[in-house]
Amino acid sequence: MSALGRITTMSLNATWRTYLSPNNLMWIVGIPIILSFVISLWIGGGDGFSRSSEWLAFETPKGDLASGEYPKVSIVFGVYLIFVLSALLTRAGTIHEETTKGTLQRTLAAGVPQWEIIAAHAASLVLVGLVQAVVFIAVTGALGTPWLATGWISVVLPVLGVIVATAGLAIAVAGLVQSSGLIQVIGGGGPSILALLGGAFFPLEVAPAGVQRLAPVNPVYWAVEALAGGFVYDGFSSQATPLAVLLLIGVTGMVIGVQGLRRHEM
């Protein structure tokens, strides 16, 4: 079997096993969908400008009605961001669990190079993220979230950017932190903090200046910018910079993580 074949087999197997676990299934797709649904019930529809009057009107920057759906979409997107970060960061610890269980050593002894195992691990993180995104967007869309109000590109590009950036971060965390227990803790608490500091749930304009200055180093901030760029502002030209930053975060995370894993696992 070729290297590509082995990587594909290992990553598909890891993704399959992830979604076979009822506990993972519940936390990766079940709870975020339920939470999004509950939240969307009280946010309701509308264009986000509820206090128009005879002499005072509101318009979105694009001047259309569709981009007025942004507040509803952005809140559900915020829930998604927390759970994609949580899911991928938590799954990043599995490579250390494999070391503990001995399956990593057995795979290495069978002649599979270490870089293939790390590549398969990274690929499985991206696959887990993709499956989660497809299920989450499909189900919340069916429950009323207008994801495609301004076209598929407004949503698909930010989601892909988030998955790449988060997979990179997850690999970086796995490379820097050797304890799967500590990775669980980071995966449990870190995403909520990143989401709050990145403006996923409330506009950063109300945050103190220090928090606003910190936002550009936070992937959640760029994910929200990418979504707003597509939904509210100038489409792809507004999304290009946030997407480039997300890609950069992903690649940098992968490089740091791979170096860490190569140093510690051998």
């Binding site: 002499w55 009107a57 920057p61 007025g68 409330f202 506009p203 945050a207 606003q212």
Partner: protein, 393 residues
């Protein structure tokens, strides 16, 4: 009887010791403190009526169509908005399209377009943004003050002691509160407290549920490892063992809350109010959490991982509904009323009210509600255990 109590105490203290030595303090104490700090800093704007942006909003003003009337209003608006340099940096644009392009290209946060036909003022901004609300609030204030007219013609500028933006903020805030009765505080106890006060109570309750449940999980773990049967073989009754689980869960919850209250008092200067009222709330709350954990354990198979993750799921959802993760200040009225009966929500209301000066006498209904909930949960859990979980099953 005395022997049973001694056994219950010994097992409960052992569970408490296991939780304390299991690395739990790192995430049970460290994690909530970090979350309280982050939320206290970032969400402070949601807990005060006096809002000033960290940097002024960039606003462009333009006339939809040329004319002396609209041009005059544009000049008036630019002048008025410029009086609040902490809120606005104002520029004039050549027309509606130029103003829209400025917002679309993100060189401006919002635009105000003045028109002689249709609505006199159109605010162009991202929907749901703070700048849209601030600009609209300022325009409304100016209209009420007679600075601008809803027909887009200027009506002159009466003397004022505050800028339009400050006036708009004052409109939103209303009159300053005087002494408030306990009943009024319980209507919305989150109003009038700061972000650190709110989140110290809210996050403490959330992690108290996790702490209490982690103690209960040890009871299930003992079944899985065989420790339970060994303890039973030396004469400890089943009821005593289960009671020890509930007591240890309540003890862990109460001990955790006490520790958190002390730490947040020192670190964030959080005021917790009357110690007696606080203690009663904490003890009854911890018992209600223990009762719910007991019910979770009773209805699920004796698998520690299943009980642990089911508890985490239930408490995470309860935390959301009870106002621990998303502040009740931004929740709609129906949401705050619908889930007011939840024990964790009653605890939050109680802690916030006590912090505002409510004493034990006014807490009777909250305490009764928590105790009744705990008693019902405990009774159901006991019935389920007796009916479904025969010894050795």
């Amino acid at each position: 009887m005395i022997m049973s109590l001694r056994q219950t105490g010994a097992i409960a203290v052992h569970h408490l010791r296991r939780v304390a030595l299991d690395g739990a303090p790192i995430w049970l104490i460290g994690m909530p403190l970090v979350i309280i700090y982050v939320l206290g800093v970032t969400m402070s704007g949601l807990f005060t009526a006096e809002f000033t942006p960290a940097k002024p909003f960039r606003v462009v003003v333009a006339a939809a169509e040329p004319g002396p009337e609209t041009s005059g209003t544009v000049r008036l608006l630019v002048g008025e908005l410029s009086q609040a340099p902490d809120f606005f940096v104002v520029e004039q644009a050549s027309g509606k399209e130029a103003a829209r392009q400025a917002v679309l290209g993100r060189t401006a946060d919002a635009a105000v377009v003045v028109s002689a036909e249709g609505p006199a003022f159109t605010v162009i901004a991202s929907p749901g943004s703070v700048v849209a609300d601030v600009v609209a609030g300022t325009l409304r204030h100016m209209e009420r003050e007679g600075v601008i007219a809803s027909g887009a013609s200027s009506s002159g500028s009466p003397p004022r002691s505050q800028s339009p933006a400050q006036g708009a903020a004052a409109d939103e805030a209303g009159s300053p509160p005087g002494p408030v009765a306990a009943d009024a505080i319980f209507d919305a106890p989150w109003e009038g407290v700061g972000a650190f006060q709110y989140f110290s109570a809210a996050i403490m309750i959330m992690f108290m549920t996790f702490a209490g449940h982690s103690a209960m999980t040890y009871t299930v773990k003992d079944r899985a490892t065989g420790a339970y049967l060994r303890i039973r073989s030396i004469g400890v009754s089943r009821g005593t063992y289960l009671a020890a689980g509930v007591v240890s869960s309540a003890l862990v919850g109460a001990a955790f809350s006490t520790l958190m209250a002390l730490i947040t008092r020192v670190l964030f200067h959080v005021h917790w109010g009357d110690p007696l009222a606080w203690s009663l709330l904490t003890v009854t709350g911890a018992v209600s959490v223990a009762a719910l954990s007991f019910l979770v354990m009773a209805v699920l198979p004796d698998n520690p991982k299943t009980v642990e993750s089911a508890g985490s799921t239930i408490y995470t959802i309860l935390s959301f509904l009870g106002g621990s993760t998303v502040p009740l200040t931004i929740m709609p009225d129906w949401f705050t009323r619908l889930f007011a009966w939840l024990p964790n929500r009653r605890m939050l209301d109680g802690y916030l009210a006590v912090a505002q000066g409510v004493t034990t006498g006014s807490l009777v209904s909250e305490l009764t509600g928590i105790i009744v909930t705990a008693a019902v949960l405990m009774a159901v859990a006991t019935l389920v255990t007796r009916a479904w979980k025969r010894e050795g099953a």
